[in-house]
């Protein structure tokens, strides 16, 4: 029973990591940039969610009003993060498109610090309680196994989002353009694809998912702080690498693996070893499968 409970714990946090990881992996897939600011974008989304939830007084609202408020919060935060990520690409990375790989990478670290600074000024340095809007009610009949409204929310939001993303990338025209750009930007340009527009959209979609993740995080974990982007970003990035960076299903799988390693590790090995366990597994995997769990084996161009 406790094993099942830890599976649920691991799956819920894992899908959350996965949602952030997609933002890393999509951007990497298309312009080979590790966007270090992505975690901090997620943090700003959570701060906006906190501001909205407090302003609307959702904590004391009835169930109907609370549900409407939550939907509204999701929409606003997703648009906000998408817009911010798009603007970030337009202002910071696009002028550096032709520059050596290291230049946008260092800029990304810079943007990360700027976002963190904004967060620090916005809400201060201490941990802040995120109002408990969702009831902590167990949906299963038995007391020994818990699956709460919060866990349900995580599944209800992340699974359709990931499914929609997969469909979008696979079957729409823009999705096709994205895959083409990822494969070969120059050839895509020659074929008449507006590469910069496609990259802009990629950033926007990554931001959209980070925005959704930030609201879920606030509603289920209930604590936000200006440093939350760093830690979650680190795990999400690890998830992306674990799954094979640049690979969408890989990022989802990687997130879930990390969530499970954390929860089962805490149960059977010891809480203080969970981080070491996650990164230990990452190192082992990269030794034997350098391209990650689902990463395609790329042949070095000689």
């Amino acid at each position: 029973m406790i094993f099942l409970q830890q599976l649920i714990n691991g799956l819920t946090t894992g899908t959350l990591f996965a949602l952030i990881a997609i933002g890393y992996t999509m951007v990497y897939g298309i312009i080979e940039l590790i966007n270090f600011a992505h975690g901090d974008l997620f943090m700003l989304g959570a701060f906006l969610a906190l501001t909205l939830v407090s302003a609307m007084g959702l904590e004391n609202a009835g169930p109907g009003a609370a549900a409407a408020g939550i939907v509204l919060t999701f929409v606003i935060c997703m648009i906000f993060c998408a817009g911010l990520n798009f603007a970030q690409d337009r202002i910071v990375y696009r002028p550096l498109r032709g520059a050596p790989k290291l230049t946008p990478l260092v800029s990304a670290i810079g943007v990360s610090f700027v976002f963190m600074g904004i967060g620090q000024i916005w809400k201060g340095v201490a941990d802040i309680n995120f109002p408990d809007v969702l009831p902590n009610k167990n949906l299963l009949g038995t007391e020994s196994l818990r699956f709460t409204v919060k866990d349900l929310l995580v599944i209800l939001v992340t699974v359709p989002l990931m499914a929609a993303l997969t469909v979008f990338v696979r079957f729409t025209k823009l999705g096709k353009a994205m895959r083409a750009t990822a494969q070969n930007p120059i050839a895509s340009r020659l074929m008449g694809i507006d590469v910069d527009r496609v990259i802009g959209w990629t950033f926007a979609i990554g931001g959209l998912l980070a925005g959704a993740a930030s609201v879920i995080y606030g509603l289920t974990i209930n604590t936000v702080s200006f440093q939350m982007g760093y830690q979650n970003g680190l795990y999400a990035f690890t998830a992306a690498v674990l799954g094979g960076i640049g690979n969408l299903p890989g990022a989802m799988l990687g997130g879930i693996v990390i969530g499970l390693v954390r929860s089962l590790g805490s149960q059977y090995v010891g809480e203080q070893w969970t981080s070491a366990l996650v990164f230990g597994i990452l190192i082992l995997l990269l030794v034997f499968r350098p391209s990650g769990l689902l990463g395609a084996r790329t042949r070095e161009k000689v």
Binding site: N9, I128, P131, D132, E143, K150, I221
Partner: protein, 400 residues
Amino acid sequence: MNAKFLRLAALFLFVGSLAFGQGDPAVIKIVSSLPRTGSARGQTDTIVNGIKMALEEAGDKVAGFVIKYEDLDDATAAAGQWTAEKESANADQAIKDPDVMVYIGTYNSGAAKVSMPKLNQAGLLMISPANTWPGLTKPGKGDQGEPEKYRPSGKINYTRVVPADDIQGVVSADWAKKLGHAKVFILDDREVYGKGIADLFHARADEIGLKVLGHEGIDAQAQEFKPLMTKVKATGPTLIYFGGTTQTKAGQLVKDMLAVGLDAKFMCPDGCFEDAFIDSAGADNVQDRALVTFGGLPPEKLTGKGADFVANYQKKYGKMPEGYAVYGYECGKVALEAITRANKKDRDAIRGAALSIKNFTKGALGKWSFDKNGDTSLRTMSGNTVKGGKFAFMAVLGEE
């Protein structure tokens, strides 16, 4: 040419005497080194207010000297808490300034470890309003080599006005038993303060027959602890003891304990005795659930001079002092008393005078003495819970 050179030389000498001279013989400087940026800001504001009140009540004058106070910060915005570099720089600054006779600090025991050996060699008196790590003063109660490594000169220059954790850990375990708890799970944040106090709690619990179901260290960088709490829940405790602070995720632990459906009490030491703990945990979550020990009585329970202090503080600053304010005030009073007793501007004389303080009643904490290690003789602690988003006093601990 010659005259010009002389004038220039005179100017250099003048500037030099300002920088390296003996300072102003009529002025004595008191500095404090506390984390003034970051999450401990609320507590240190109130400590500094307490120090200022003590000095102002004396009219900023004592034994014929004018007292000047300087408020140093040992934290940086980037770190959000104290850093070894900043604390070390503060100690150097105090040592090099010939007017500085008293160093009030530090707030964090880890910071004291950095500045103590330096200030000890300079023979500068240190008075801490908040350090609780036993090893700073007590032989055999801390790590190997403590406290001798903080006393390279062989003399004692460090004193504190709060009871140390060897008392707090023991008292907490006794309190838990008294409240009727039989099974406890212990967590700590793996830091000097948190692990130290949790280990002491653990040892005492074994002694008095309070069953310890498990003892784990947490990763204070982690964002949530549901898996850990699931594991804790399966062992069936009625109480969780957390050796840690607000900054090492006490609030999140409470939330995740509730999230996995574990209805237990949550006990933690004075590192959580601040409004920031209630803010981060959510007032409803800790209502009647959090049990926080504190090395002294809460402000509203102080009597006599303590009650006067609280009334004056409210009049001056327009709000209730937080828990540590009275210790800031006490530090100020001790500094003044040491200078009065020494009656000269001499670091070693003032240091010796402070350690000779016995049956001190001029502060707000009642009657107490410094022992030979520089520890206070006070052992009174209080147990508090949270009601309506505020700390509410429950019991006096450790009196017998």
